[in-house]
């Protein structure tokens, strides 16, 4: 009986330890990046009405927020040294756009523009010239 109990405990433990590294979300980073690209595209699309832009951006923002959380909670990404994962964690503010923007009390677009180096001042100071 004791041996059986030990065997069960060991089997459970092995199942847990062997299973844990592979239980992550496959492609969670790629999904998040895709969703972020869609959101930014929505903000920047010139041929969209304000109403459409607002509803689409709202939907996309909620989805992106979930995806950011999935990536941040994904334990299978810890130490996974791939270019995509390295890029994501190299810059929190650019990668986790929704969370970083809310943290700084900015809109997502303002935050993103700030991150890529475009400010209201720099736009106002810009001059139109021929190259």
């Amino acid at each position: 009986m004791k041996t059986v109990t030990h065997a069960i405990a060991a089997a459970a433990l092995i199942a847990v330890t062997a299973g844990s590294p592979s239980t992550g979300q496959a492609g969670s980073v790629e999904n998040m990046e895709r969703e972020r690209a869609i959101l930014l595209e929505t903000y920047l699309a010139p041929d969209m009405t304000a109403e459409d832009r607002h509803s689409k951006a709202n939907l996309s923002r909620r989805q992106l927020m979930d995806m950011e959380r999935i990536v941040l909670r994904d334990k299978s990404l810890v130490g996974r040294n791939t270019p995509a994962v390295r890029r994501v964690f190299a810059n929190y503010d650019r990668s986790f756009l929704v969370h970083a923007a809310m943290e700084k009390d900015l809109t997502i677009l303002d935050h993103w523009l700030q991150q890529v180096g475009v400010s209201q001042e720099s736009v106002m100071n810009a001059t139109r010239r021929r190259r």
Binding site: L13, T17, V85, F96
Partner: protein, 291 residues
């Protein structure tokens, strides 16, 4: 009578040589074995289960059976030694000599048993140390395989996670304040699962087995393995010391055997002298001449 007395002398002499040779011989010709393999599964096991797993594997091995059998034989032999000593103290003359001789023979067998147990124990400990060192080597190799880039990535991930944890509640509050739409399915299901996971984590942290492990386990697996190697080395040193003690015991038994053989030889010489004295025709005839 003479033959009966000379037999113990030869036996005692033989005993002396065999006991003196005891310390130097290796009595593990076809000895039982324990062959644990350092599998990837063993390397991956959490540190608190690693030793238990090895212990369990060892308990099932022929080597463990042999050690246990030898220990049982040793305890029986100790009883025999006690009985023989009591009997020898109460006996007289030839029976006493015979019992003393038997006691010496039993002591020799006892020392043989102790030595074979020590050999088996040393074999077990050396094998165990080798296994620990191999696991330690694998663990260290895994650690060394981490490139600086990977270490940097892990740091970034940790800081990202910490920042997320720090701000997640505030973000949730802002989302709740600015959005009229209900929470996403992921968010609601995650919250449900999180409360279940927290309950389980609480149960795990308060589990007596878990607290017992946490008390004794060092943080790093490599450190834990190094400690196990050191413990095994300490046990091996103790076995070495026990071997020295057995050597002293063997020497004492051989001295006893020499003393017994000399005692028997002296008794025999006295008897022969008396007999010769009795049988001397000149001395026996003296009375006839001395008037």
């Amino acid at each position: 009578m003479t033959i009966q007395r000379t037999t113990p002398i030869f036996v005692a002499a033989a005993l002396t040589f065999s006991v003196m040779a005891l310390a130097g011989t290796d009595t593990l010709a076809a000895s039982p074995a324990w062959n644990p393999s350092v599998t990837e599964k063993l390397v991956k096991l959490p540190q608190e289960y690693l030793k238990k797993s090895l212990d369990r594997d060892f308990r099932r091995s022929p080597l463990a059976d042999a050690i246990q059998n030898t220990e049982e034989e040793i305890s029986l032999k100790l009883q025999t030694l006690g009985d023989l000593r009591n009997a020898a103290e109460q006996a007289d003359d030839e029976l006493r000599t015979e019992l003393r001789h038997q006691l010496l023979a039993e002591k020799r067998q006892y020392l043989n048993l102790v030595k074979s147990r020590q050999d088996l124990k040393r074999k077990h400990l050396e094998k165990r140390r080798r296994v620990y060192k191999r696991i330690l080597g694998k663990v260290l190799r895994k650690k060394q395989n981490e490139t600086p880039e990977q270490v940097e990535l892990v740091k970034q991930q940790q800081s990202a996670h910490a920042r997320f944890q720090r701000t997640v509640e505030a973000v949730d509050m802002k989302v709740f304040a600015t959005t009229v739409a209900p929470q996403s399915r992921y968010a609601t299901d995650y919250a449900k699962n999180l409360s279940a996971a927290n309950a389980l984590l609480k149960a795990i942290s308060s589990h007596p087995a878990n607290t017992r492990q946490a008390d004794t386990s060092p943080a790093d697996k490599a450190d834990y393995l190094r400690r196990l190697v050191a413990d095994t080395d300490a046990e091996l040193a103790l076995v070495q010391q026990e071997q020295e003690i057995v050597g002293y015991m063997a020497k004492l038994v051989s001295l006893n055997a020499i003393a017994l053989s000399e005692e028997i030889a002296e008794d025999a010489e006295e008897d022969v002298a008396e007999y010769e004295q009795d049988a001397s025709p000149i001395t026996s005839a003296l009375n006839y001449f001395i008037q």
